[in-house]
């Protein structure tokens, strides 16, 4: 007990040294008009000298600046955005922000629990609005994220969060929206000598794991059809929504065969909303994905190709291949350091432009496409009248790191503070050295 007290007191004494967290934005009663900026609507349209109006948390106006001019008196505040770029908030569809503070510190990680089949685990109630990482991430324009458990075969249930709020209830954008399943790995790589010559071997446990999933889905489906249950089963309860379409099943699979096997299994249960995640080999099975109408959350663009023989730029151009094939897709950043590197999502989109996409297609891949795949496109993902005013103003092109500089950002119309532990430390030491 004594030890515990010491620990607590240490934390308390440490606090003053740590920079203040930004205060969550309060409800904005006043309306705002962003005038003269270049508006990237993420609907394929760019308004060079545009205007965006925000009223009651919603986008009330999207037009060119000249036609908005006459309207400007109906806004409490008019902000001149000349020379600036206006974007819908970027959406990270698959991350552990708020579940992990520092990956190496066990006390700060809450992403995976014991057991293989855990649909009942909810990211929502663990999401930490006081994470120091979130304010850093949103400084690059990422304003919304689907917070996702990991591990096991069925990891748990995700929720979509606004990256601002006093607590998880406050920050929640869509609660318990999807169940996440890791399809068992079919193959693993083996190395035969130190110079890493090797190949792949079949996962011997694959069949067994598939049977486990198959049975779980069957049981869950049967349970969902029962009017009353002999006993309440929390795991099966958590699965109910996937059969009536109130929840999406997110399937994580990499290899071509895994992709086809997993989607086929999910389809056999007539699951209405299936999303493929990761899908490293998606570029090889575009016909299959198209025929089955499966949207794809594409694995981290900034990755090495899977195979030595693959095109050097394969991961960079996979989004373009999916675009050409007419598949609905968006980008994600799941992997090492995904919480803190979430801020680089726009630059992954930027890279895809060098490898085939148009800038607006790349933008859609982190905004409107993402919203469609997550099922929040009625209210989010683009700058359109009636949608939530989750958007930001950047000094320049937000997909290029040199010009991504977010100066003004709104989440559901609330203007958020654009400071973080990093900007504060920066200021502190610039001051120390008298630098500008």
């Amino acid at each position: 007990m004594k030890r515990y007290l010491i620990l607590v007191s240490t934390i308390i004494t440490m606090l003053p040294a740590i920079a203040q967290q930004p205060v969550p934005a309060s409800a904005n009663k006043k309306s705002v008009l962003l005038l003269n900026g270049t508006v990237h609507t993420a609907t394929g349209k760019v308004i060079e000298k545009g205007a965006v109006g925000i009223k009651d948390g919603k986008i009330s106006l999207v037009s060119d600046a000249s036609s908005a001019q006459s309207n400007s008196s109906s806004y409490d505040t008019v902000i001149n955005c000349t020379g600036k770029q206006i974007y819908p908030g970027f959406i990270d569809p698959d991350c552990t922000l708020g579940l992990v503070e520092s990956g190496a510190v066990r006390a700060t990680t809450d992403v995976a629990d014991i057991g293989a089949l855990n649909p009942e685990l909810r990211a929502l109630t663990t999401y930490n609005t006081d994470s120091k990482i979130t304010p850093v991430v949103r400084l690059n324009g990422v304003l919304t994220a689907q917070i996702t458990p990991q591990g096991g075969l069925i990891s748990g249930t995700s929720s979509i969060m606004n990256l601002d709020g006093w607590n998880w209830e406050d920050a929640c954008y869509k609660a318990d929206d999807g169940v996440h399943m890791n399809w068992p790995i079919m193959y693993s790589r083996v190395f035969l000598n130190p110079d890493q010559i090797g190949g792949f071997v079949q996962n011997k446990a694959y069949d067994k794991q598939i049977q486990l999933i198959q049975k779980f889905f069957s049981d869950a489906q049967a349970y969902s059809k029962q009017k009353t249950h002999e006993e309440t089963d929390l795991k099966l309860e958590a699965m109910k929504g996937i059969f009536d379409g109130s929840k999406t099943v997110y399937i994580y699979a990499s290899f071509a065969k895994e992709i086809m096997a997993s989607i086929t299994l999910a389809k056999s249960f007539s699951i209405p909303k299936i999303v493929l995640v990761g899908a490293r080999d998606a570029w090889m099975v575009t016909d299959f994905l198209k025929q089955n109408n499966i949207p794809v959350i594409v694995t981290r663009v900034h990755s090495q190709p899977a195979m030595t023989d693959d095109d050097v730029d394969q991961p960079y151009k996979t989004p373009y291949i999916l675009q050409q094939a007419g598949i609905l897709y968006c980008l994600e950043n799941e992997g090492d350091q995904e919480e803190n590197a979430s801020r680089n999502l726009p630059f992954m989109a930027g890279t895809t432009v060098a490898y085939g996409l148009t800038p607006e297609q790349a933008l859609e891949a982190i905004t409107s496409n993402t919203a469609k795949i997550l099922g929040i496109d009625n209210t989010a993902g683009s700058i359109e009248v009636g949608k939530d005013a989750t958007l930001f103003v950047s000094d320049g092109d937000a997909l290029d790191m040199r010009t991504n500089n977010v100066t003004l950002a709104f989440i559901k119309g609330k203007k958020i503070q654009l400071t973080s532990i990093q900007t504060e430390l920066y200021q502190k030491y610039m001051q120390k050295y008298g630098l500008k």
Binding site: D195, H302, D336
Partner: protein, 991 residues
């Protein structure tokens, strides 16, 4: 003189009788036989190069008495008529586990095991097993011996093959005899490898650690031999010194490790026979240049599974190519004059040995070369060429009797004689009766064709109307069974049984047709002539080998042509970012000659042979230099078992075949420091390379690079994030880290002064002259640091430890070079700047562990503004190929200018690595390590289009597209073979 046909006369005799040992009592009646055996009318290979027809081999008491065409056969000799048969010296396999008792490893002592678990006065490292002698572990294994004999072997060099120093190997015969008689030479060779085998000790945990351990062991053994005042008995070092008189065999499992072993051999003046991997053909010139002898396996790769297209995608091009080309290996080694023997190691089924051997011959190995590699060469390697491997007077009677040319398909081995004792390989059913016979059954004439394989003979009967009737045929010498039916008959089977004549030419006997008893006779009219015609197989050419042996590798001729067009290159009208004071030059030409930037200016012209590249609208920069990389290293980048691993060298384990080299070239990277990891406070020595894709590891090294070593601080070195069980290795705190440095540098100083004093002593051979200090590779390295001859780049995070390390270095009066990562360098930037120390950091990594919670992406900008030479590094293969983007982040984070950013990935890292006189900027006289970009190199929308290293264009976006296409075509071609491959058609023609 009794004359017997060879087959059939060799009864199975209890094996322990004929070669009883002199010191052993006999329980029963003595049975010592001293007969002559004469093998007459045989085709005999006296040695691999000399054969005689109709010759005689005379043996007695396990030795060859005489051989030749005019041998006098003693009247009491037992004579075997070997007409039509061939006698070869039996084969020798120098890599075998035959007869070895199973390995009994010591259990690991705890979660961390820093010392050897082997009890006894042995050395500190459990993987150094010089004290192990294979002869002490040898016990005959009749089943295994029979399987070796069946494929022609008579002798193996046996060992458990365990550990880095494996002790002595035993040369043994494959006789079923007493162990005492089977051993030819108890301590025949010494063995080494890079694999610590059953050792449970943590060190070494990497390939470079294994190499360092071998080095230190040579030094320790030498010291032990000479030291008079030593205070320890070290049985491992004693045994190691004894091993040095034997042939030295080094086991490796890939082609690059051949070069690694060779390097050690050169360093210590030893002669290794290298047991290779079979992939030597992939790096033939370099392998040849080692000048070593080799033991080469014949385990050609299995067919890759490519039936399913998605599975096929997971089979690398190199695997496909190796499947196609591996059988070339013995032949090309022979042609290049490399001395080698062959081993069956790696064959899942020993029976595949002869098949693979014949395949190797089809792929270019000469039969003489094959025989040499199986007989003379291994004998010679063991210094036993006067006893085994040939059939000369006085030599051991180890030979095989075959049905003909052993290298031809269908030939079988009848018997294998070990020390003059016969072992039947193929039993009495296996006399080659193939041929055409005139068959008379009850006055009806037929023709009998005996064909098929020598091992599985089949019969066909032709009647007078030339109907082909399949027959049943069985031989249990001398009894032959044959049955068939008359064409169209269903009720009167012809069932025959007869006796084979001694000359194997006639068969006489009785039989039945239905209920009728009859007589029959068959006599040979035409003996079998093998005219096997194999299906044509396209034998690949060694010229098709790619360097590296993988996708995006290039053939020798492609590499040559790239070199040729790179002799002089003029890049015309580009926007040049020089990285020098002049920074940006618009519409400028750059001329490269012989790998050096020879002119920068407007309207330059080259010679008529110059390659002209239009740079209009493009950007030309110096290539990216990565101060912190872990690509292109094999066998682990951490030797983390001990807190100090200053003895290990990344330069020993460079992997020139890592695809990341090519991918980084595609990202505009030309050079990098391949660093040891951060598992311990004093890490290993760096490998500083240019990305010379297609060259060997040694060729990748930058000749003018100065030595570097990696240090590390913080959570990694105190094992904070390794897991809860890692609480044993010192240091476990940052306090310990500081003292660890003080202790090591203090010892290094003392070490240096001990050597200084020793070297100052007059050279004397007097008995009581003091011992030389023991050479210690760790302390040796640390003294280089103290003397300013080796530079430190230290993995570092929080400000306290950054400050601490600067104070340690101050205390020992040497200049500290670089804080790599240096994530909180910004907090002590003034102190770092004051000491003129550099910082090489990530652009924006943070939060992934406790010590990076206050890492900020503004670090690079603050350091730059404070006048520190600052670089952005990757520490990651993917990030390395996007370092231009990483540099660009400092425009956003801290507002550096584009030129300042660009310097952070070119000239600044070059400065930190002391390479800046030669590379890192576009300046006349510097190496032409340059990149042509499609646009502003800091733009996320730009791509490297051409990357030159030393003026040679190793990545070209158009050439890359062509290579992708070629790889696809080549893959399809080989997969087509694999999917459609059918067995060779075999035609047997009787004349």
């Amino acid at each position: 003189m009794k004359k017997l046909p060879l087959s059939g006369c060799l009864a199975v005799i209890c094996c322990f009788t004929s070669q009883a040992q002199q010191t052993f009592p006999v329980n029963g009646t003595h049975d010592s036989r001293h007969n002559y055996y004469a093998f007459v009318h045989a085709h005999i290979y006296e040695d691999y190069a000399t054969s005689m027809d109709d010759a005689t081999l005379l043996i007695k008491d396990g030795k060859i008495i005489d051989i030749g065409t005019a041998v006098t056969i003693p009247s009491d000799a037992i004579t075997y008529d070997c007409h039509g048969k061939t006698i070869y010296p039996s084969f020798i396999d120098l890599y075998s586990g035959y007869g070895m008792q199973p390995l009994k490893p010591y259990p690991r002592t705890g979660n961390t095991q820093m010392m050897s678990a082997a009890p006894g006065a042995f050395g500190w490292n459990q993987a150094v097993k010089s004290q192990v002698d294979a002869d002490q572990l040898f016990h005959c294994n009749p089943t295994d011996a029979a399987s070796y004999r069946a494929i022609g072997f008579g002798v193996t060099l046996s060992s458990q093959h365990d550990g880095i120093v494996q002790g002595s190997y035993a040369l043994v015969t494959l006789a079923d005899t007493m162990d005492n008689a089977a051993i030819l030479t108890g301590k025949a060779a010494a063995g080494y490898s890079f694999n610590k085998g059953s050792s449970t000790q943590d060190y070494p945990s990497s390939l470079m650690g294994s190499i360092a351990l071998i080095r230190q062991t040579y030094l320790d053994a030498e010291w032990y031999k000479n030291a008079k005042y030593k205070t320890e008995v070290n049985l491992s070092l004693e045994a190691f010194n004894e091993l040095q008189a034997l042939p030295q065999i080094f086991l490796v499992d890939d082609k690059l490790s051949v070069l690694r072993a060779d390097k050690i051999a050169r360093e210590f003046g030893v002669k290794y026979i290298i047991k290779g991997s079979g992939g030597e053909y992939q790096l033939l010139d370099a392998i040849k240049n080692t000048g070593r002898d080799f033991i080469i396996p014949l385990n050609f790769p299995d067919k890759p599974d490519v039936q399913d297209p998605y599975d096929a995608h997971m089979v690398d091009f190199s695997t496909l190519l190796n499947w196609e080309m591996a059988p070339l290996n013995p032949g090309v080694m022979e042609k290049d004059g490399i001395n080698f023997s062959l081993t069956i190691d790696g064959l899942k089924d020993k029976g595949a040995f002869l098949t693979n051997l014949r395949k190797a011959i089809k792929y270019g190995l000469s039969p003489i070369g094959a025989l040499k590699a199986l007989t003379y060469t291994p004998a010679y390697m063991m210094g036993m060429q006067d006893k085994i491997g040939s059939l000369k007077k006085g030599m051991i009677a180890n030979f095989i009797v075959t049905s003909g040319d052993i290298f031809k398909q269908g030939t079988c081995i009848y018997s294998n004689w070990v020390k003059g004792y016969p072992y039947q390989v193929n039993d009495t059913t296996n006399i080659d009766l193939r041929g055409t016979y005139a068959l008379m059954v009850d006055n009806t004439a037929y023709t009998l064709l005996i064909g098929g394989d020598a091992n599985t003979q089949t019969a066909t009967v032709l009647d007078d109307k030339k109907h082909n009737i399949p027959g049943f045929f069985h031989l249990l010498n001398p009894i032959v069974s044959l049955s068939f039916r008359q064409f169209g008959d269903t009720v009167h089977p012809i069932q025959l049984s007869g006796l084979l004549s001694i000359d194997h030419k006639t068969i006489n006997g009785n039989g039945t047709i239905g209920v009728k008893t009859i007589t029959w006779q068959a006599s040979l009219t035409n003996p079998f002539i093998d005219t096997t015609v194999d299906a044509p197989v396209k034998i690949p050419s060694i010229n098709e080998v790619r360097y590296p042996f993988s996708a995006y590798g290039r053939t020798k001729s492609e590499l040559d042509s790239i070199q040729k067009i790179s002799k002089e290159v003029l890049i015309h009208n580009a926007t040049v970012w020089t990285g020098e004071k002049d920074s940006v030059l618009n519409n400028t030409d750059v001329l490269i000659k012989d790998g050096i930037i020879s002119a920068i200016g407007k309207n330059l012209s080259g010679s008529k042979d110059a390659t002209i590249i239009d740079g209009t609208g493009k950007y030309l920069t110096s290539g990216i230099v990565d101060e912190h990389s872990h690509i292109a290293a094999s066998g682990g980048v951490n030797e983390g078992a001990e807190a100090c691993s200053a003895e290990v060298r990344i330069g020993d384990v460079l992997n020139s075949e890592d695809i990341c080299i090519y991918r980084s070239l595609a990202g505009g990277v030309v050079a990098c420091q391949v660093l040891h990891g951060s598992a311990n406070p004093i890490g290993g020595q760096s490998g500083i390379i240019k990305l010379r894709w297609g060259q060997t590891p040694e060729q990748m090294k930058i000749q003018y690079a100065v030595p570097f070593i990696k240090f590390a601080l913080g959570e990694n070195v105190k094992q904070a994030n390794w897991g809860d069980i890692f609480t044993v290795r010192y240091p476990q705190t940052r306090m310990g880290v500081e003292q660890f440095f003080f202790d090591n540098f203090t010892r290094a100083k003392e070490y240096e002064s001990a050597w200084d004093s020793y070297n100052k002593l007059p050279k004397t051979k007097s008995k009581d002259a003091p011992d030389a200090p023991r050479s210690d590779l760790q302390l040796e390295t640390l003294t280089q640091i103290l003397d300013g001859k080796r530079f430190i780049t230290s993995h570092s995070y929080v400000q306290s430890e950054i400050n601490m390390l600067m104070h340690v270095c101050d205390s020992f009066h040497f200049h500290f070079n670089t804080f790599t990562h240096g994530l909180e360098a910004y907090k002590v930037a003034d102190k770092i700047a004051a000491r003129n120390i550099g910082v090489s950091c990530f652009s924006d990594w943070w939060a992934y562990k406790m010590e990076v919670m206050e890492a900020i992406p503004y670090n690079a900008a603050i350091c730059t503004k404070m006048g520190i030479v600052t670089a952005i590094n990757s520490d990651d293969d993917e990030m390395q190929r996007r370092l231009n983007q990483e540099a660009a982040k400092s425009v956003k984070y801290g507002g550096l200018s584009e030129q300042q950013c660009w310097r952070m990935v070119t000239i600044n890292p070059a400065k930190l690595l002391h390479l800046d006189e030669h590379t890192g900027s576009i300046k006349v006289g510097k190496d032409a390590d340059i990149v042509l970009w499609s646009g502003n190199p800091l733009s996320i929308y730009s791509k490297a289009e051409k990357t030159f290293v030393d003026g040679v264009c190793l990545y070209d976006i158009q050439n890359d597209a062509a290579m992708r296409n070629e790889i696809a075509q080549e893959r399809a071609r080989i997969i087509n073979q694999l999917v459609s491959e059918v067995k060779p058609t075999v035609k047997k023609v009787k004349k």
